[in-house]
Symmetry: D2
């Protein structure tokens, strides 16, 4: 991994995600330009000190010298935007696949060069367009491709946040509003690209033309923090794309709505377990997670059954963390043995009451 030192956000999310399914191990990293930060991060992650590198260049060349079965297999690029390009380039040129955070690079020229390198080196290059990982996004895409809503006519793609509504001063905000780190665009590069990508993914067509209005609302900011775009896609599809980081109180409002000749689909990242499907002459349907009526491939993307929002796993993980801490003598348990006693006493009392014509019954504990 390159990037993701202490104080970064997305690096830790990458690590959580990579770890979840027990299929991947983090084996090496250059986590920060700040060598101490990088060391500390690596140690906290349990890496041996010789796989914690001071910079990505050293990491690439050192890893490339290791025997094939010991060296890292691919590089996760989780740096600020301006470093995506040199890292991905160095990685592929040293024989490593690349999984990069988006936007791919600062501009079109850089990514075109990366494509050439990927072609030449046979490296696999991929972007973490997170939202494509949602099962119901795949389902929506399948429905459109199978003609279930007819030829697509109109698309509304929107990604609105509010956290940059004021002159925020923190690490996350700083690089995002600095052209030398973020690239030519602020809000559009950071989140507008997600909306663009999601629209193309679900519709299954390329966007061909845009008419755009980009704005910097917060005084002193160097890049756009808001934008509205009219667009056209192949095949006569028309649409509107809005992205903003100054919509006060909005959190992570990525929403897409697609209307075809015979139906419509609507999905929001903030309620990712629902896909709304509309018809010409039938009630609207709420398609929900992990249901048996989804296709096999979509079902296979779920780790929990219907009605267990994916946060379920994290709630579960919180319970595990609490327990591990208690064993180390820290904190307290939400549900310990007394709690367990109470649960069983509750059941006993229920049954006694039910067997006695719903008589009020004392819980015996």
């Amino acid at each position: 991994m390159v990037g993701g030192g202490q104080g970064a956000f997305i690096g830790e999310v990458h690590r959580l995600a990579a770890r979840l399914d027990n299929e991947l191990d983090l084996v090496a990293g250059a986590f920060s330009r700040d060598v101490e930060n990088s060391k500390l991060t690596g140690q906290l992650l349990g890496l041996p000190s010789d796989r914690i590198y001071p910079d990505f260049e050293t990491m690439m060349t050192s890893e490339a010298k290791l025997p094939v079965d010991q060296r890292m297999e691919f590089v996760a690029v989780v740096t600020p935007n301006h470093v995506h390009f040199p890292v991905a380039k160095a990685a592929m040129e040293n024989g490593f696949h690349v999984l990069s955070d988006k936007p791919a690079t600062r501009d079109l020229e850089e990514i075109l060069e990366l494509r050439q390198i990927a072609d030449k080196t046979n490296a696999i290059y991929a972007l973490t367009h997170t939202y494509l990982g949602y099962p119901l996004v795949s389902h929506a895409s399948n429905l459109v491709r199978e003609g279930e809503i007819g030829a697509v006519r109109k698309v509304f793609a929107e990604y609105i946040q509010g956290w940059l509504a004021t002159d925020v001063d923190n690490k996350q905000a700083d690089w995002r509003t600095d052209p030398s780190k973020s690239g030519k665009s602020g809000c559009m590069g950071d989140i507008g690209t997600h909306a663009h990508n999601l629209a193309e993914f679900i519709v299954g067509k390329n966007m061909t033309h845009v008419a755009a209005d980009l704005t910097t609302f917060v005084p002193g900011r160097a890049l756009d923090d808001d934008g509205s775009v009219l667009f056209r896609m192949e095949g006569g599809v028309k649409g509107v794309l809005s992205a903003s980081q100054v919509c006060v109180g909005c959190e992570n409002g990525l929403t897409i709505r697609i209307y075809g000749e015979t139906g419509g689909l609507s999905w929001s990242q903030e309620t990712p377990n629902e896909l709304k499907r509309t018809y010409l002459d039938r009630p609207t349907e709420i398609i929900t997670s992990a249901q048996g009526y989804l296709s096999e491939d979509v079902q296979s993307m779920y780790r929990t059954p219907p009605g267990h929002p994916e946060g379920y796993i994290e709630a579960f993980a919180n319970i595990y963390v609490e327990f591990a801490r208690r064993i180390r003598g820290e904190g307290k348990l939400s549900a310990g043995v007394d709690n367990a006693v109470r649960g069983m006493a509750f059941i006993e009392a229920l049954i006694e009451s039910a067997e006695n014509n719903s008589k009020w019954t004392e819980i015996p504990a």
Copy 2:
């Protein structure tokens, strides 16, 4: 871990959760009474063969003989209900802490015995009452304890599902409807206990009396699949608790609403990122995840920022899995290098259009 072989549900959730934060390692297991299943499960999880045990008794005694720094630290009990008791007993008697799935045991007598053993052995015993792991549940509990809604008067606790509305025949359903495995109660033991526990946790008082009506709606089923309960808690709190597994189309509808003298709180597991707070004379508030206005301890329970439902991590993990598979030559990428090119081309076109008075601009790729 005891239980959680191939075909089980909750065992895998435990493992996902335990793995998430990189604080725990699975070191040993007796995953199934079916020895082959246990072996296979252990191998898939990467355990050395001598830590995959044929049964939990062997596991306890074998692990107890290992040096302290090599043996397992605690046992996660994820078996059907009727095995919770002997496993937890054996674990604690052999010097291991226990993290058990709920309900704790088949009846009150068993858990009282476990409490004695825990006291005697100094083992830490905890239950995975998952829903207590949700940060906004903790926040709700804090608000009530701090008097923010006044003295509590009325509680509505409800947990309704629909998956047992018909005579389902599968592994999950089978043991839940078999008294010898599940204990004295079906629906109430399986999910009613969650509602009970959640009510006590948030209100911070014990339930003292119940008047219950338990029903078996599906013919041929030996245990209750539905129940309604009037209850009373310490301090004059009154309430209704409903649990059902025959509410067709309901998924995992755990909801709690609590009304005090000056305010109310309402939370649903299916939309876990929102806590609704009502007032006597002000607009209702929607308290959301990870916000700065939450207390430090509640904020520390989040792994992602506001607006990123916890499923975000899983969507991310899906992207990682896809990439790992592609490296192994399988499947295809949602977002590869061509996609990356398209993203940058989109940004270029946006900026060109915006700089030209929103002129329609072709996306150059």
Copy 3:
């Protein structure tokens, strides 16, 4: 009309409703025991002074003496509960039909006597169980009767409000919490009866048994302000009914959910334009107002097309009121001629921009 003087709530709602469809005229009234209030109310409603009566007894006997084609046809009873009985009795005995607010009377004995009188006099007696007037309630009832959700198993009926959470002192609250005016029950008589009635109407079966827990939470109040009820209906249906007026921040939360062997239905009075229908193995459907897929008789209950919540008519009425006041020289217009100019200028500019490849175009006004 008997009742509904100045300061009353439901009387004015009755008049608005009666007027809406232009099928009924208010011709006589005894609006208050306070003769001045009655006179004033009648005058404001445009009644001739000889049809404004000092009390209901006079009204009944006087109207009965008028020629058939001039006398009132029926009496709307909108008084506090304790007066329902004598008014309805007098009306029917004098030859008038009765449309009474609910609860019918203070106790069972009184309504049984009214039923006898109705039988003897051939008067038509009806209750304004308002919620039965919602088209989607009729639709739900039709679906259940047609077997669309299979045999009904479980019903959740709930009506929770918060306006009596404190010791409220106003006209509305006063009679509702006074046993001599309200009858034997406070909250249950006032709103619990709506939930009961709705359950029986949609399920199409009678409730046969109850196990109830009624509470008075606010000190000093003479009647219940909260209650929870387990119930059973004919044919093995079980259910829970909750009613409360102390759930802080709840407004008018009447909700019913019904689960049968093959499906479920859920409707809330606060979002009356949606009826949720669940299935064993298909996505949940959102049935909405006035749609073509509803039956003819249900469609005929709508005054506006799909997506126009019935409040639409009132918004429209507000516009009319504003205009009427402006003609009388009062207030100001939301949308006057300048506004009209702006609207047309907007359209002109749109078309010019669209015809010029989406060029930015000034709105010419």
Copy 4:
């Protein structure tokens, strides 16, 4: 009234609305170019035959000859769009005020002429921009004007429907898609103007520039059925306005969201009883209808208390209609005397059960 004959939609809505508050009487009409339709409509509305006119010209001149206290006071114009102009013109020139449906006229030129006539004749001219009649729209407007969300930055105005997604052939659709009747624009003139008007009303600023993309998706249609617009308002406000009549399954999706420097507001016509307010650093608030925390002038726009969606009145009206029909010997009652008996029996049983420690109690009827 001019327009609103049998088969029309909006004319009847105007009449319902005008009737609701008992402040207005319909006294004359020219309801249709089809004289028989006009006569029939007038008769059904109870007009004397000499006030039912064959055409609007006759109506204007005839009414103008009546004594001032007998003649009509104003004209409601509810015809297809192309007739708005001549009717309003004739009305004002004959001394009558005008309340016109929108859009005001077919083009800017016509409405500018009407403005001149209004100025000259001192007639009051108003448009029924229905959505301005919603109390929470007024409240939103007040909040913005009082600086409660800071200087406005970004506006999203959207009005999407689906009823013209196919080649619909009915009276409503026909004139809307006929340029000679509807004017220069279809969808934008019909519904886009509502979104435009609502944005200007709440923000309190004029829209100054647009960049528009209008589309006709359904083959053979002569006017736009969809459009997307980037816009700018006075004071640096930017926005997006979308209107469409081909979004399959959308009903009447008028939504507005406004973001200022310190807060945001969001309102939807389909859930008109909620106004969402967002803050920089506090939980989002749900402002609801008729609450005491609203200003006096906004509260005065309500006819029912909190939690009674305005449809409440119509549900009530349905009950009245049903009763009136029953008196005429038609239909059946939802809630007659037997039902009333059941309600009282329910209460009796509740009280008996509650007084006997929640014992199961039979309902005695």
